[in-house]
Symmetry: C2
Subunit: 296 residues, 2 copies
């Protein structure tokens, strides 16, 4: 379940409601290209912005159109009560795994985060991926906490932010393998860091880019696995103008949402207010990049 | 509405549901002590953790038991749709003002935040306080943005984080008065910074401490108004052991929730999981502080 290329699609809205047809098409493209898994309701899929009913709709469409590709679903919420309800609903709707970030408003302690995972682990019957994303959740995991949480029986992967793998990536992977159970895979995210992470030995790439451009994601994934560190850096650098656009727009989500609008996969605007897509200058740049980088 | 001492009470839960009696008692104590306003659903009141129905219950109890003291309510949410619904519900239930933070998961641009306030401003018929809290919302206002938002017709106050007022507070207040409309009041929060902020000329103290200990809040507020900068610093320093406990526990919310448990105002645990109160050592310290500082 937690190896290879995992695609994180956007959740397209129209008039502030899920556009099930547009979403079905996006999921169908991912299924056709045979990515290794699809994550409905990742950060790019805007899980914290959707209520329980909307999350159910999203998962239903994803599972229905994913074909043989296993679907995982984000279940993070500020309250344990809601996390458990999200998990129960997602399992009932047929997801094969769960993605759980320690979402916070009031900052969380290590003990609270451990207890969150323990309680969810106790309830669920599908594997869990720990979602470590300090920028979005404002919680920073220590290695000790990762090690403790990873011992829980349903934890099978950790989605790390990409930065630690850029320099001395292999050393960092070895260090993590030393403190984590053997059956827990190590995932990289932050697409700009993916090639380095994969080359360094990450088992899975949790990819925003592949959520809309699965073939490009597969190209990067497979080449990064085969090459050396210098080549991985060069491979990633080909996409620097795209990664720069991610950075300028506070992450990949707005870029992918706007790309879907440009390509006519979704109606514009597809994001829920107050979130907006790219400004006209960045849109023009993105339009060129889609063609120059042959994103597909 | 937006001057004096504004008390921000906790929202006590029992078995993960609102405890209306405990909350009514807390609000009643605030009404009896005649604070200048009460904010239901501030950060300490855990607004992002509650669903629409729970928020309605909280506001209903607050308005019913606040007597002559005006109630304001937090309406922040990740989606504009939900912010507008929160505002509509709060107004219907009789609040006299609204508190709005640009809550974020995906980071927000200045344009998005401006548009959020513009859209809410357009809908509502009670005044709005802009809630500037970079630690909780992960959005940092520029002075230019504050100035633009403050021009909207329903904006009447800004709740600033306290740090800018500790050093050169008066200069900072003068600077803010220079860029804000005359009818927009300047508020300080972060209780450890309150005395300096009030002494420097802030019009209102948005206070966590006063949410449970209104008389102590009033004591600090009135003394800070009369004294000079050095005296204000000394006044605040008397409470340093309490402010230190706030810092060690990631803010005032857990300390006030635990204080309410210690005093028997609420059943323990009163916070929604995964949030927890203070550990036994900190509880013992807090118990002593309540008596030594004569918190009331």
């Amino acid at each position: 379940m937690f190896t290879g290329l995992s695609a994180f699609p956007i959740t397209p809205l129209t008039h502030d409601r899920l556009d099930p047809n547009a979403y079905a098409n996006i999921i169908g493209r991912l299924a056709d290209s045979k990515v290794d898994s699809i994550c409905a309701l990742g950060s790019t899929g805007l899980y914290p912005y959707l209520n329980a009913e909307e999350k159910g709709q999203v998962i239903r469409v994803a599972v229905e159109h994913a074909g043989d590709v296993p679907v995982l679903a984000g279940i993070g919420s500020l309250r344990l009560r809601d996390v458990l309800a999200n998990a129960e609903q997602a399992e009932k709707l047929g997801v094969k795994a769960l993605l759980l970030a320690p979402l916070s408003y009031q900052r969380l302690t290590e003990e609270e985060v451990y207890e969150l995972y323990r309680r969810v682990d106790e309830q669920v019957s599908v594997p869990i991926c720990v979602y470590d994303n300090p920028v979005a959740t404002h919680f920073t995991f220590s290695d000790e906490l990762h090690s403790e949480i990873a011992k829980l029986k349903m934890i099978q992967s950790i989605k790390f932010p990409g930065t630690p793998f850029v320099e001395a990536g292999e050393k960092r992977i070895q260090q993590l393998k030393g403190i984590l159970p053997a059956d827990v895979t190590i995932g990289v995210s932050g697409d700009a860091f993916a090639a380095s992470g994969i080359q360094s030995g990450c088992d899975i790439w949790y990819s925003v880019l592949a959520g809309l451009f699965p073939r490009t994601g597969q190209h990067i994934f497979h080449r990064a696995k085969e090459c050396n560190f210098t080549q991985a850096k060069a491979l990633s650098q080909e996409f620097d103008p795209l990664w720069d656009l991610f950075t300028q727009n506070l992450g990949g989500m707005r870029v992918m949402a706007t790309a879907a609008e440009i390509l006519g996969y979704v109606e514009a605007p597809c994001l829920p207010a107050p979130l907006t897509g790219l400004n006209p200058d960045s849109q023009a740049l993105l339009r060129n990049l889609i063609s120059e980088l042959e994103l597909s």
